[in-house]
């Protein structure tokens, strides 16, 4: 199945945040690059069904983005998200499990597995308000994987992680992308170079590049920076 976005636009008054983007994403890791304010987060929030597009359609196979069916196969890690400070780590995962429609026993089992995977096993009984920024980010990663989603959308997932954790998590995404659709947004170009099967570049709400990036095309980071220098010069 493919995740399809067909001429998706999002307007806020006269401002156009996302301008007629069309995408077809199949299994694999898809890297999304763009400067701050380019429209990446708005696009991802539309792909998650949090925001409704002003025009255009989003679907996975025959499932429309607004359906429960679609949301039940989705995992999302927002860039800047909050927690319920008095919940313990396990409470949070069980609550997310309930939201994702998972049976309690399964959510508990899967929560323990993921806690081990993100090195939070011994911290799960502690309240989230006692966690460090990196621990919270790892808990956020765990909740995104909780329902083994068909579509995994990650907005700056490695922010706040130390270099070792970042590499480990990058490998985890790469592995997951072999069987699932992963959309990864980050400013760290090298992460995308390492694991993305194809690259999407967004600028002023428009998709300016989509395709496989290989060495013949040169250095991705240089290309990325050039796009934004040009943007700045035009402004």
């Amino acid at each position: 199945m493919e995740l399809r976005a067909d001429r998706v636009t999002k307007r806020y008054g006269s401002k156009i945040a996302v301008d007629g983007i069309t995408l077809n994403l199949s299994k694999g890791v898809h890297g999304l690059l763009g400067a701050n304010g380019a429209g990446k987060t708005t696009l991802m929030r539309m792909l998650c069904g949090i925001l409704h597009p002003t025009t255009g359609d989003i679907s996975l196979g025959s499932m429309d983005v607004s359906t429960e069916e679609y949301r039940s196969v989705l995992g999302y890690l927002p860039q800047d998200f909050g927690y319920f400070p008095d919940f313990t780590g396990m409470d949070f995962l069980l609550y997310m499990g309930a939201l994702k429609g998972l049976p309690k026993s399964y959510a508990k089992k899967r929560g323990r597995e993921l806690a081990e995977l993100v090195f939070l096993k011994d911290e799960m009984a502690k309240k989230i308000k006692t966690y460090s920024g990196g621990m919270r980010q790892r808990l956020g990663i765990a909740q995104a994987f909780l329902n083994e989603p068909e579509i995994l959308i990650l907005d700056e997932p490695t922010a706040g992680l130390d270099p070792k954790e970042r590499v480990r998590f990058r490998n985890m995404i790469e592995e997951y992308g072999k069987e699932h659709i992963v959309l990864l947004s980050t400013h760290i170009v090298s992460d995308i170079e390492h694991i993305a099967d194809d690259v999407l570049m967004i600028k002023n709400g428009k998709l300016i590049f989509q395709g496989i990036w290989n060495e013949e095309k040169g250095d991705l980071e240089q290309f990325y920076l050039k796009q934004f220098e040009e943007g700045a010069a035009n402004e």
Binding site: E68, S72, F84, L99, G101, K104
Partner: protein, 391 residues
């Protein structure tokens, strides 16, 4: 799996983990306890001028002693018809130099004064003049409310159901709850719900947890209903606890007797053919329904304004506005609508309001129509909220 039960459990957890909820609930319960014990801190005395022109202070009593003497005097009168003989005794007591004699018939003299405030100057009162004056009072109050002929005919039949002469009943607990507690509880419930429920949805935005919730399978439909169910149970439970405190203290101090005493014993101008106990139960039932309405309204505001403090300000502002601003009765429709705001409807004063609402060819009293109106508003706010949440 729809996991509604689990979602409700976690919504409870979120609500009850907020310090603000515990603190405000505790403060509200303390206010309720204090309002039931405040009489113990009072003292009572009375000054009068004797035949020689000296000012005499009589009846120095503590609050506790006063409660005891009130109970004793009311029990002495319990079961007696308010007829010629009792009215004469009450009048004699009024002119007695013995303070304890006045106090003994205070309840009857208060009623005589309510019915005809100039009864001392107008040559006293007997059974006939009392009940004639009572009927005149009931129907003259209808003039000031601009009642139609149809409404008058309705009340004529209702008033005929009230048996005369009234039988005085000991009913101090019910009287106190009806006269002093029902409105206090209604106000405290509004205050508590505005503080605790205005953040039900808005807090998710503030904490930035909304984006995690909204993109999940149950994050839209079931989460909305889980929050609504928790809010409504919290609202109803708050009202029940406050009534529990009130019933507990009043029945402890005054006993449970007096449920069946005629309402006119404490609200002479009312045309409602109900007992004092029934009047309390009417306001109790309406408070529970209003608690549901206020809960869904607070949560709808939370969604609409997406701001906890703004939602709270709107509700508290409305409470003060409807409490202190009274629309004159000659704006018949407007003032009647104004009377349907919960803090206006849930008060003993509403038993004096004989204005009716014609609905599908039948007349409904304010309380009856209040039930219909509140139920309809609850459904509307839940529906509007659902639409907003799905946007």
């Amino acid at each position: 799996m729809n996991n509604l039960g689990l979602l409700i459990k976690y919504e409870w957890k979120k609500l009850l983990q907020k310090k603000m909820v515990w603190v405000s609930a505790l403060v509200v319960v303390m206010v309720m306890v204090f309002s039931n014990l405040a009489f113990l801190m009072q003292s009572y005395s009375m000054n009068y001028t004797d035949d020689y022109g000296n000012i005499v202070e009589a009846g120095g009593e503590s609050g506790y002693e006063r409660m005891g003497s009130d109970k004793e005097n009311a029990k002495m009168l319990d079961g007696r018809a308010i007829d010629d003989a009792l009215i004469k005794k009450a009048l004699d007591a009024l002119y007695s130099p013995d303070y304890t004699q006045w106090r003994r018939y205070d309840e009857i003299n208060d009623l005589l004064w309510d019915v005809k405030s100039d009864y001392r100057r107008s040559g006293g009162m007997d059974e006939k003049t009392f009940y004639d004056a009572w009927l005149e009072l009931v129907f003259s109050s209808m003039d000031s409310l601009y009642l139609t002929e149809g409404e008058r005919a309705f009340w004529q039949k209702q008033v005929e159901k009230i048996e005369t002469p009234f039988i005085y009943r000991y009913n101090l607990a019910w009287k106190n709850i009806l006269g002093n507690q029902c409105l206090t509880i209604a106000l405290l419930v509004v205050l508590l719900l505005s503080i605790c429920l205005s953040g039900m949805f808005a807090e998710e935005t503030r904490l930035k947890t909304d984006q995690l919730v909204l993109c999940t399978k149950n994050g839209r439909n079931r989460t909305y209903y889980a929050k609504m169910i928790v809010g409504v149970i919290f609202g109803v439970f708050s009202a029940l606890v406050l009534y529990g405190v009130s019933f507990g203290f009043n029945f402890f101090f005054y006993g449970i007797k007096g449920y069946g005493s005629v309402l006119q014993q404490i609200a002479a101008a009312s045309p409602f053919p109900v007992s004092v106990g029934q009047a309390v139960l009417i306001l109790f039932g309406l408070t529970l329904l209003a608690a549901v309405l206020e809960s869904v309204f607070a949560m709808w505001l939370s969604l609409r304004l997406d701001n906890h403090v703004a939602g709270m300000a709107v509700i508290v502002g409305m409470m003060f506005l409807t409490l202190f601003v009274r629309l004159p009765e000659h704006f018949r429709v407007l003032s009647q609508i104004w009377g349907f705001f919960p803090t206006n409807l849930i008060a003993v004063g509403r038993f004096f309001d004989s204005r009716l609402v014609p609905f599908f060819g039948k007349y409904f009293t304010n309380f009856q129509f209040g039930v219909i109106l509140y139920s309809a508003c609850i459904v509307l706010f839940v529906w509007f909220g659902k639409r907003r949440y799905e946007m």
